[in-house]
Structures are given as C-alpha cells and as structure tokens.
C-alpha cells in the first residue's frame, strides 16, 4: 500500500516536472530556507546560552516569523524533492533521522520562543532549563543538516545502516 503510493508519487507528472524543470530552483530554495531557518535559530539559541546578553529576549521573538518563513520554504521545496526520490527517501534511515530532528527542533524552537523569549528587561539571564533546551535545539539542527547532506550522497544501503 505504502509502496504503491510512493511509486505513484515518484512516477507522477508532478515528479516528472520537478525533475525535468524545477529541480535547480527547488534545491536552491531549499538551501536559502535552511540558511534562514537554522541561521536565525542559532543566533536565538546562542543568546539563550549567554552570548550578547545585552539583547532583550522578547525582541528576539519577532525573528520567529522569519524563522517560520524559512521553515515553510523548506517544507514545500522538501515535498517537491521527496517526490523525485520518494521510495529511496522513505526507506532511508538518514531521511527518517532528518525528519525526526526537524520535528524535535521545531518543538524546541516553539517552547523556547513561548517560554524563554519574554520579559523586557534589557539584560536578562536565562535559566539552566532554557540553556538545556537551546543546546538540544542546536543539536537537532546540526543533525538535520548533516543527515540531509549525507542523504544526497548515500542511499540507505551504502553506509551499512540497513
């Protein structure tokens, strides 16, 4: 059942169009989205960890709109990239780790944004709980980048994970 769906997607007119026409633009959008999403979250996480404490935490929260713009850019371009390699991606442990890391990273980002990025005092420290969240967030995004890159070079069988 799943295999039939993956097969249908991979051989759809949509997937053909992505592969034949849109691919360079889609992969470029995926990289730009990554730079926005991860780049801004790294700055936020490092502030939570104690970098540049003169920055008010609540003001950083405004950046989350841009972070979500980067995320949706990559969700859409990601679905398009998935359609080309649906079967290979779906069964790849690298792909599954990547999606799990992204899901966890988004949850952590949302928690940090709603519970840490508040308060208007110009110089505010953060709790050790907040710092743990920030370290976990950085780890998730590091993991998402590395598995995403490796996915382009290895199919799941090649690296002995299968």
């Amino acid at each position: 059942m799943v295999d039939q769906l993956l097969h249908a997607l991979q051989h759809s007119a949509f997937a053909d169009w992505v592969q034949a026409t849109a691919y360079p633009a889609v992969i470029t959008a995926h990289s730009i989205g990554l730079a926005i999403l991860v780049g801004l979250l790294v700055v936020i996480d490092l502030r939570v960890l104690g970098f540049a404490t003169a920055l008010p935490l609540a003001a950083l929260r405004k950046l989350m709109t841009v972070v979500w713009f980067g995320f949706w850019t990559n969700a859409i371009s990601g679905v398009m990239l998935f359609s080309i390699d649906a079967k290979k991606d779906f069964y790849s442990p690298l792909f599954r780790i990547k999606l799990s890391a992204i899901a966890l990273g988004l949850i952590l980002g949302t928690v940090i944004s709603s519970s840490v990025l508040q308060g208007n005092s110009p110089v505010a420290g953060t709790s050790s709980r907040a710092k743990v969240l920030a370290v976990c967030s950085l780890t998730c995004w590091l993991c998402a980048i590395v598995t995403g890159r490796l996915l382009a070079y290895f199919t799941y069988g090649d690296i002995g994970l299968d």
Binding site: T28, L34, A59
Partner: protein, 167 residues
C-alpha cells in the same frame, strides 16, 4: 587531456595531497559538504539577523550588541573558505571554468566590500540605534544589498552543479 597540459597550475592543485585525499575518500566529500552548510548557516544567520534588524524587523533589538555575534560569522566564513578550497582541490577543472563558480566568487567579494562599506560608512552610528530606533537610510540600503548578495551567493553555489564550462 590537452586541457591538463595547458593548465599546469590546476594540474598541480589537483595533485596536492588535499585533492587526492578528497578524491580518494568516500566520506570526505559528504562530510565537507555538511561542514560547508553548517558554515553557511552560521555566516548567513548572523549577517541576516543584523541586516533584518537594520531593515526594521525585530526593531526592539539594539544593533550594537548584535555585533557580538560577528566572530561566529567569521568562523562560518573560515569553515567555508577551508572546505571550499578542499572542494576546489578535489577537481579544479570542475570549478575553475564554471560560470556559476566564478559568479559565486565575485558575489562573495562584493559581499565583503559591502560589509566594509557598512563598517566605514555607518558603523559609528550603530551605537545610537538602540531598541526601537530606526537605522539610517544608507544603513538600510547596505543591509538590503547584503541580503540580496548572500542569496545570490547561495544560488550561484547551487548552480555550480547545473552549469558547465563553455568549451
């Protein structure tokens, strides 16, 4: 392979131990690619936050303390310079004649000059731009250019794989 004889420098670069190492290892290229994307995120993240604030996004951030993150941007640039050199050594012929690669290098140079313009032209005013205070028009122009140029760098970088040298 007449092209090789015509380019002793590229041939020499290709035969360096770095080039041989990247070519002969299964893991080197994907690992370097991962580092290149991590470096990109650090560099563009820091530059992007500063540019966005100058342009008026998250205006509650004072601009001066944002510059504390600059060492991180330089670290990202350093990672990408080193990994980029290793890609080049791996097969200089792929890059040296590739129009996308040349445009990418030109854009990085432009981004550097643009950042220098910010440093020399408006940096002295940065102290004044505390929480909620609008940056000058010139600063906004430089920041908008910065964002456009870096998006161009990423685009040209990705297009290296889709363009080949004219023969």
């Amino acid at each position: 392979m007449e092209i090789n004889a015509a380019h002793p420098l590229l041939e020499w670069i290709k035969l360096t131990p770095i080039g041989a190492f990247v070519r002969n290892s299964t893991w080197a290229f994907p690992a370097l690619q991962s580092l290149h994307f991590i470096g990109m995120s650090l560099l563009i993240g820091v530059v992007g936050v500063i540019d966005l604030r100058v342009l008026g996004v998250a205006r509650g951030l004072p601009i001066h303390p944002l510059h504390r993150f600059l060492p991180l941007a330089f670290a990202g640039f350093g990672i990408n310079l080193l990994t980029g050199i290793m890609f080049f050594c791996h097969d200089p012929y792929v890059y040296a004649f590739n129009p996308s690669f040349r445009i990418k290098m030109l854009l990085i140079l432009l981004a550097g000059l643009n950042a220098l313009w910010f440093r020399l032209g408006v940096f002295l005013d940065v102290d004044k731009w505390g929480p909620g205070i609008e940056a000058s028009r010139l600063a906004k122009i430089i920041s908008a250019l910065s964002l456009l140029i870096w998006i161009g760098v990423i685009t040209a970088g990705r297009f290296i794989a889709f363009t080949s040298a004219p023969h």
